[in-house]
């Protein structure tokens, strides 16, 4: 056991440095809270972290990788000839060819040489990739349960389904982003008692924003944010916009999504003749996004699958009314007609009906809704609460 004065060393592992926005947020939150954070994986971009974050990246280029692996093997040999022998044997056995040998060695060696106390896997799918190599590590394992990896990937990927069932019982602790996803993970053999639900958080300063509310009966400006992917349900949103247009409702709808616009959406916009109402913007930096959000009347989340969408929390904090489907853990953040609007998944008619309801609502009601949403964020989705959640989680996992 560590003495209290010593910091727990947590490897936040997603495979890439930097990782996605919310994992980078997590790194930030944890590193400010007395943990030592180790980052392993491929370095894609130069990043600046505070002094509690230590990077042990694996090079991407082949020549550098060879040098890196040889160097790390030597360090391991000097540290522990026994572990060196074991590691070398295991990597050789698990590698079909020399290229994979170097890739596997490049992955596991820095972790062996800088043993963390807890290896925290951010993407559940990772458990399938190197289970035998993970066994070389003498540390605790934590796995985050988020989105697609739990909710639908194993439905069509039978080998992933099998891997979850095989390795989940060996994991020391799970971090679930929502109650809903923790229930899904239990189906694959995750021990319910080892799952901690820790909601994500938003920056406190968003709570100070107070944009104007929509005036009853006026044109409504809607916005959605999130990558182009079927799970985001933009096609259902466009179906709803068609219904609104047919009913003579005045509106605009902006989608902020990175990448090429899918054919499906292009075809829908053309087919429905809603070119003038719809605008699709190819990505946007977060601060600009917050500015844009404040000019809109409502954030719409038409998804069919989510953990808890961070952009909804951000909008709630910033005082923009939200409408979400009841997918994933969304209902843990939004209560219908209390802190926002909730509609069933895969249901364009409901979206259209609720938008109309919103338009015809008095401003006071909308202000009340915004107040309640801010209160929800203050209670459930603050940095402080997330920090405390992880502190507890890691201490439990480590002390187990």
């Amino acid at each position: 056991m560590k003495r209290l004065s010593e910091k727990l060393k947590i490897a936040v592992y997603s495979g890439n440095i930097p990782s996605t926005t919310f994992i980078e947020n997590l790194i930030e939150v944890l590193s400010e809270d007395g943990f030592e954070i180790f980052l392993f994986g491929k370095k894609k971009k130069e990043m600046r972290y505070n002094e509690n974050v230590k990077l042990f990246p694996t090079p991407v280029s082949e020549i550098k990788l060879v040098y890196f692996v040889l160097k790390e093997f030597l360090i391991l040999f000097l540290k522990s000839p026994h572990l060196f022998k074991k590691c070398f044997g295991e990597v050789r056995e698990k590698s079909r060819n020399i290229k994979i040998f170097f890739r596997n060695a490049g992955f596991i060696l820095p972790v062996l040489n800088h043993q963390p106390d807890i290896f925290h896997i951010q993407w559940a799918k990772t458990v399938e990739q190197n289970p035998e190599l993970f066994r070389l590590l003498k540390c605790k394992f934590a796995v985050s349960l988020r989105g697609a990896h739990i909710n639908y990937s194993p439905l069509t990927d039978k080998s992933l389904d099998k891997a979850y069932r095989k390795y989940f019982p060996e994991i020391d602790g799970f971090h679930a982003v929502s109650e809903a996803i923790s229930a899904e993970a239990v189906k694959y053999g995750a021990d319910k008692n080892r799952i901690s639900v820790i909601h994500s958080s938003v920056k406190d300063e968003l709570l100070d924003l107070n944009p104007e509310v929509h005036k009853k009966g006026s044109k409504v400006e809607l916005i959605s944010v999130g990558r182009h992917h079927w799970k985001k349900g933009y096609h259902y949103a466009l179906d709803a916009m068609k219904i609104l247009k047919d009913e003579g409702v005045k509106f605009t709808y902006t989608i902020i999504a990175q990448g090429e616009i899918p054919e499906e959406l292009l075809f829908m916009i053309d087919d429905y003749k809603i070119e003038n109402e719809i605008r699709i913007i190819n990505g946007m930096p977060n601060d600009e996004l917050i500015d844009l959000l404040q000019t809109k009347h409502m954030l719409l989340l038409p998804s069919v699958e989510e953990g808890i969408a961070n952009v909804v929390l951000e909008a709630m904090a910033a005082g923009i009314p939200v409408m979400t489907t009841d997918c994933g853990g969304m209902k843990e953040a939004v209560a219908d007609r209390y802190s926002g609007y909730v509609v069933p998944v895969r249901n364009a008619r409901s979206i259209a009906a609720k938008v109309k309801e919103f338009i015809s609502e008095e401003s006071d009601v909308k202000r009340e809704l915004i107040r309640n949403a801010k209160m929800t964020v203050r209670k459930e989705f603050t940095r402080e609460k997330q920090r405390a959640g992880f502190r507890n989680f890691y201490e439990n996992v480590y002390g187990k």
């Binding site: 909710n151 639908y152 990937s153 439905l155 069509t156 079927w230 799970k231 096609h235 179906d239 054919e263 499906e264 292009l266 075809f267 053309d270 087919d271 069919v304 699958e305 997918c327 998944v345 895969r346 364009a348 008619r349």
Partner: protein, 391 residues
Amino acid sequence: MRIGMVLPEAPQYSETFFNYKIKCLKESGYDVTVFSGKRSKNKYFYKHIAAYPVYKNKKFRQSILFISVIIKTFVTSPYRSVKLAGKEIKDGSSFIGAVKILYMNAHIITHNLDWIHFGYATMSLNRENLAEVMNAKTGVSFRGYDINIYPLKNPGCYKKLWGKLDKVHSISDYLYSKALKLGLPGEIPYRKISPAVDTALFKFKSDPGSIKSPLRILTIGRLSWIKNLETAISAIKILKEGGTDVVYTIVGFGSEYERLKFAVYQSGLEENVIFSGKKDHKEITKIMNESDIYLQPSYQEGFCVSVLEAQASGLLCIVSDAGGLKENIIDGETGWIMPKRDPEAIAEKIREVMNLPEEKRKETAKRARIRVEKEFSLEDQKKKFSEFFKD
């Protein structure tokens, strides 16, 4: 008469439409050559010439081949080559661009043809001047994606083609009308030749128009957003919640399996929806025979042969009002048409059909079979194809 058909790939066995088209033309005395983008080892019953390859990662190999092909083409067809390159430059390409266009057409330009026919409108891109320099005529077929979707991503892509066309074939009036909106001049001669079905291969059910319990619904098609199977799955959910015992079989494969599988899982329909993957003709006739209703919920459709096959087999067909489907089914006569993308409407229509008197359903199935035999026969299609290049 010598016809060059330009296709992305030489038609495989399963692509009955093209195979049959080529066969018809040959039987009518035409000399048909298929020009395709890809080389293949298969044996064909027609002349088949593949384009010179484009290597993405082998620059050296590509340069050598490129130079030798260009030299060879200039030597064998000097007049045509110079003329094509000249026309392309006049149309605004750079010199390199023009030579590249010559390379991608080098397998065609050396042949003597009376017609160059593009199997899809997209096949005509960068080939618009080809027929003119070869003293041939230009024909094109509209088939669906090429008119419905490609121009959305590439506005104005057929502007050049419209000026060069001698004749247009479309599988539905719908696609033709859409092409007119894209700028196709109305004075260019147009023929609609719908897909046909060999009714001998699809046996009329012994109990046409019957409804069993559980209700057996079938869709055949790629797992793609175009087919709008998500809407159908939502409709099945509504039926189930309304107390109908239903099994929905989806035959086909495609890139959106995960999306659909999740829709089924999320809707609690794992017992009711079966993805049976790709099936061959024999298996399909068996599945047709064991189904009651054929559903085509498509968001867009050029015409849809599967709906013809289902009608030939004696199934009750319910289709969306997308694209060419309205020409495929006569609403209330040979099947039923409902608005696309509306699960409530699909569920409602299925209930309505279930509640029809047995006799009414049987009559509908019979009328559908008769219409398919009469209006979508292979004989008829053959006649129309042979006439297409005549006048």
